[in-house]
């Protein structure tokens, strides 16, 4: 573990000037991911800039009828906030599917977006990993790749983004507000994470000297027809093998609009507009759902240990859509799947 120093930032401007000054610095929020990675020498910042004192821990209404969630709102506060549970239950549910209560108490909204892959080789400096050490090779491709990608991977990296929350954010078309030395900008959540390509060391489109200030949820809420279904190796406290965020608008017995995002399958939450469009105007039935699943999984290719995920994802998508259509979303506390 590296020797580092530690400073506190007073406000967003201070945080930005600090990160610009110090090339090897990193922000720290809840620390639930960064500290683990530092202990294993995967991350080696020589300075930590503590941002937990910044005034970014509230949830506000936006003028367009949505909500703006400060980057430092803890995952648990987000999950239990009444405005979220009533209006964006999909986001609350996805949050509760992740990690454990203790971790959610510590973890921040911004940190959740920036958590890094759980690929076993990324975590182990004794093995090769292009994401950790560009050019060293991908340990997972021919190694133990049960938790790795089936979609959007590249020759250089087959890692997945492990977040649950981000899958819901993607499905909800949330927007990430960031501040940087050149000013503020907004990044669509669907554009926030990127595919690995030849530069798997870069997880997101956030620049090193930028800070996440908030997440904005648009006004479309999907209060009634939604489900977050997470399939994992134990009934809680495990990363997704496959997770599905499904949201539907149903009018007069037909699907008016649909959102479908997958977690645990790619380097970013996976969306496919054509799969969603295929549902529009259809009866919310199994046939339509199977078709949407087939479309979103088009091109899926697995590896020695994770091929099963393709079929598993297909079944999970169908079920999540059924749950959403029926208005019986998956409970995150009762582990029986409805």
């Amino acid at each position: 573990m590296i020797d580092f120093d530690y400073v506190r930032a007073n406000d967003v401007g201070d945080a930005l000037s600090q990160i610009t000054k110090h090339q090897a610095a990193k922000f720290i929020a809840g620390g639930t991911n960064l500290i683990d990675l530092m202990k294993e020498d995967v991350e080696q910042p020589t300075r930590l800039i503590d941002i937990t004192g910044l005034p970014l821990n509230e949830i506000h209404e936006t003028q367009t009828g949505g909500l703006k969630i400060g980057a430092l709102v803890p995952n648990s506060d987000l999950a239990y906030d009444e405005r979220i549970t009533k209006r964006y239950p999909l986001l609350s549910s996805a949050n509760l599917a992740g990690a454990s209560p203790q971790l959610r108490n510590m973890a921040s909204t911004g940190g959740n977006l920036l958590q890094r892959t759980r690929c076993l080789y990324f975590y182990d400096t004794a093995t090769p990993c292009n994401k950790r050490r560009p050019g060293s090779g991908c340990g997972a491709a021919e190694g133990f790749n049960r938790m790795n990608a089936i979609l959007g991977w590249s020759k250089s990296c087959i890692a997945v983004h492990p977040s649950d929350m981000c899958v819901a954010l993607s499905a909800l078309d949330a927007v990430v507000n960031v501040a940087g030395p050149k000013g503020d900008r907004a990044i669509k959540s669907t554009d926030f994470h990127r595919l690995p390509g030849d530069t798997p060391e870069i997880d997101t489109n956030l620049a090193r000297d930028e800070i996440i200030t908030a997440i904005e949820l648009p006004s479309e809420e999907f209060r009634r027809h939604y489900s977050y279904l997470k399939i994992r190796d134990r009934l809680s406290y495990a990363f997704a093998l496959v997770s599905v965020a499904a949201a539907l608008k149903i009018e007069a017995g037909a699907i008016k609009s649909a959102r479908l995002a997958l977690g645990g399958v790619a380097h970013k939450p996976w969306r496919a507009p054509d799969a969603e469009q295929s549902l529009e105007g259809k009866q919310p039935d199994r046939k339509a759902f199977v078709q949407a699943a087939d479309i979103i999984l088009q091109g899926a290719v697995g590896f020695a240990h994770n091929r099963f995920k393709i079929e598993l994802a297909r079944r999970a998508i169908v079920r999540a859509l059924e749950q959403a259509a029926a208005g019986t979303p998956q409970s995150q506390s009762v582990k029986v799947i409805v």
């Binding site: 590296i2 399939i231 199994r286």
Partner: protein, 753 residues
């Protein structure tokens, strides 16, 4: 000598509980010393080869770094492997840490950085630049099957019982035959407390070490032997142990490291392992087991073959009792059980909760389940049809065996009669339901143990024994036994354990502590009784003059004649005029003749209900009933906790636990608790524990058998059998993960439609 049921048999809460939950109980890494230095272990990045060079200059340049110990600059160490052996060592050449530059396994400790602060040590450890010459490794069982061998030196010859009958021709005659292969993976114990040692350098050159261990005396002997120290120069203490499950049976390398640095620097040093480094210690070995059963049409066994191959290291022949149970449990005239080893470039495995039994009985009881379908006999009925009152391996009677009651009471509580025989025949909504059952069996040992009892004039009783409490409740049951013996309230008893200076005890393992340390404490207290009776008899006009010890009851602070309670005397009266304490120390040992004549086992019957979503494969173990026959239960509360914990371990074994190896690097890859899965709360539902009445009169004066391990034996098989009953899919390699349950390992087209 006899015991009543005054203190014994009560569901007393742990006497060490308050100290533990308030933080007063100190664990190995929590002891301090003036001028304490901190060591951090550098682990080998490669699995095989040798160290070419060590550049420690960057590490030494860090302010606060004291020394970087490695094989090239260590204090002198003995070369003989024998010096590094210990009470639980496997046959072979024990690992010699920092001895030379040879790399035997990935994660091998190759250097120790000692610094003024832990953080400095950890940082400097990342700067030690080690270059290796590497060699190819083998860690894949399939590549070693052909070279599997019978170890020359047996750890315990009785684990390889003789063959009986002519198994091959019996198999060829048997109307029903099944032959199946089962696999179990490497598992790591992962107790909550990571291993740590605080070695305190005393001014007079003595070494006091607070260590996380299941055997302070074992570690004491090890340190004296390795570092050439006189016995009275070293003391090892382990007052509290935050779980171990077998991982603390042998001295682990952090103990060596802390002692080496303390001796080398003449300074106190603490070494704590990280969670990742916990995966560089011993583990449950991988197994490949082949079971062949031949049976009559009605299910009665006529022939049985069980062959197990398990991995060991390059340097030790670790063995465990995997197949012995198959030979012992069911009557069967023709039987051959064999076990072999395969060499891996990994560290040596070590005992993990019910070593051998947990995996061997998984295989046997899975095969019995498969047989039940083959012959069309209910699985419980099949066990009852094959019930035996004798140990089949050696034809001996069994000291006591209430397994039949386990079957019957367990089945009754579980509602086994509601089971429908065909697989996939029970469901509710989208969920398939499966019922499965299995038998459990584990050795009821007793081993030589010493103990001391000291009764102070104020009536306070101190019990001393070097054994450990690894969270099992040893403190509490020893206090109960002592309180029972002298008729004292529990709070008058002080228990001292986990200290090599105390009367010697073997490692706390094998489920033998209650029987062994318990009997020793009982006998030590009996010595006090005799002395007290002498004093009581000597009092003038004494009511107890001329009375025999056997005629007395010791209860409520009184010594009474059992047949005439009016003839009684207060214990405090017997202590009147006493100037100093009365001491009684014993070395207690089992009756060898009994062990010769009788076999001795604890038994269980485990029933499990699983429910799983047919399409998605998400599964939960909705209920487990574990009915246990283990002689007298000293404390139903702590005993139940042992079974509960072991059942959870069994759920993990069936569904979650597996340390995966990347064969290219000879390295365990999921070396943290996020990726090495054990059951979490959501995975654990109703667990019902039954202790059936079992009268044990031969093995030890307490009539106990120990309950530390029996709870895990059979549980994985019961769950695996329930999964088959629910799904009709037989998974023969643990853990039964979702892909295997759904047979999804290969892509299939549009199942969902």
């Amino acid at each position: 000598m006899s015991v009543g049921t005054n203190g014994i048999g009560k569901p007393v809460s742990r006497i060490d509980g308050p100290a533990k939950v308030t933080g007063r109980a100190k664990y190995a890494a929590e002891f301090s010393a003036p001028d304490l230095a901190y060591g951090f272990v550098v682990s080998s990045a490669v699995a095989k080869g040798r160290i070419k060079s060590i550049d420690r200059s960057a590490a030494l340049a860090v302010p606060g770094v004291i020394e970087v110990f490695a094989h090239d600059n260590r204090p002198s160490l003995p070369s003989s492997h024998e010096k590094y052996t210990d009470q639980v060592a496997a046959p072979g050449s024990p690992f010699r840490p920092l001895y030379d530059g040879e790399i035997l396994f990935s994660g091998q400790p190759v250097a120790l950085v000692v610094a003024e602060e832990l953080e400095i040590a950890r940082f400097a450890a990342s700067l030690v630049d080690i270059r290796y010459e590497t060699e190819a490794t083998v860690t894949d069982l399939d590549m070693r099957i052909d070279q599997a061998f019978e170890p020359e030196k047996k750890r315990a010859p009785e684990w390889d019982p003789p063959a009986r009958g002519d198994v091959d021709s019996a198999l060829s005659r048997a109307p029903t035959n099944i032959r199946t292969e089962y696999r179990t993976p490497v598992e790591h114990h992962n107790p909550m407390e990571t291993f740590a040692s605080t070695a305190v350098w005393e001014n007079d050159g003595r070494l006091t070490v607070y260590d996380k261990t299941q055997g302070a005396p074992n570690c004491h002997e090890y340190l004296c032997s390795v570092f050439g120290l006189a016995k009275d120069k070293v003391r090892v203490l382990s007052p509290y142990v935050g779980g171990a499950f077998g991982a603390g049976l042998r001295p682990n390398y952090q103990l060596f490291m802390a002692a080496l640095a303390a001796i080398g620097l003449k300074r106190s040093v603490r070494v704590t392992l990280t969670r990742q480094q916990m995966f560089t210690l011993g583990y449950r070995p991988q197994t490949l087991q082949t079971l062949t059963l031949g049976a009559e049409n009605d299910g009665r066994l006529v022939a049985l073959k069980h062959d197990a191959i398990a991995n060991t290291s390059r340097f030790e022949d670790y063995q465990e009792p995997t197949v012995v149970w198959s030979g012992a449990l069911y009557p069967c005239d023709h039987s051959t059980v064999t076990s072999r080893l395969a060499r891996f470039d990994l560290f040596t495995p070590c005992d993990m909760r019910a070593p051998g039994g947990a995996v061997g009985m998984y295989a046997l009881e899975s095969a019995m389940d498969e047989l039940s379908y083959a012959v069309g006999v209910d699985p419980l009925e099949l066990r009852l049809k094959n019930y035996s009152e004798r140990d089949q391996n050696y034809g001996k009677p069994i000291s006591s065996k209430a397994l039949r009651d386990c079957y019957l009471q367990g089945a009754e509580r579980f509602g086994w009669s509601k089971r429908r025989p065909e697989p996939r025949s029970m469901r509710e909504g989208r969920e398939l339901i499966g019922y499965g059952m299995a038998t459990g069996i584990w050795e009821a040992f007793r081993v030589p143990t010493s103990a001391r009892a000291i009764l102070a004039p104020d009536g306070t009783l101190e019990i001393a024994c070097a054994t450990a409490d690894i969270g099992t409740g040893t403190y509490t049951i020893l206090a109960q036994i002592a309180a029972e013996m002298l008729g004292l309230p529990l709070d008058k008893v002080i228990v001292k354990i986990g200290d090599s200076d105390l009367p010697s005890a073997p490692v706390e393992g094998g489920s033998w502590t209650a029987a062994s340390a318990g009997s020793a404490v009982m006998e030590a207290c009996d010595g006090l009784r005799k002395e007290l009776l002498k004093r009581a008899g000597a009092v003038s006009n004494a009511p107890l003059r001329g009375v025999n010890l056997a005629d007395l009851t010791w209860v409520d602070g009184e010594i009474r004649m059992t047949s005439d309670p009016s003839r009684a005397m207060l214990l405090s009266e017997a202590l009147l005029g006493l100037n100093g304490p009365i001491t009684s120390e014993v070395s207690s040992a089992p009756d060898e003749q009994v062990l010769q004549e009788y076999s001795h086992y604890a038994h269980s019957a485990v029933f499990a209900e699983v429910r799983l979503d047919e399409e998605l494969g998400m599964l939960r173990v909705a209920r487990v009933v574990s009915a246990v026959a283990a002689g007298r239960i000293l404390n139903p509360k702590t005993a139940r906790s042992q079974i509960l914990g072991a059942v959870v371990g069994g759920i993990g074994m069936a569904l979650h636990e597996e340390t995966v190896i990347d064969h290219r690097y000879g390295r365990f890859m999921n070396h943290n608790l996020a990726e090495y899965h054990v059951p979490v709360h959501a995975d654990v539902h109703a667990i019902d524990v039954i202790f059936v009445d079992e009268q044990e009169h031969r093995l030890n004066p307490l009539g106990v058998k120990g309950v530390g391990e029996i709870g895990i034996v059979g549980t994985a098989a019961a769950i695996a059998n329930a999964v088959f009953h629910a799904t009709g899919v037989r998974v023969r390699d643990l853990p039964i993960t979702i892909d295997k349950r759904l047979e999804l390992r290969q892509p299939t087209s549009n199942h969902a439609a």
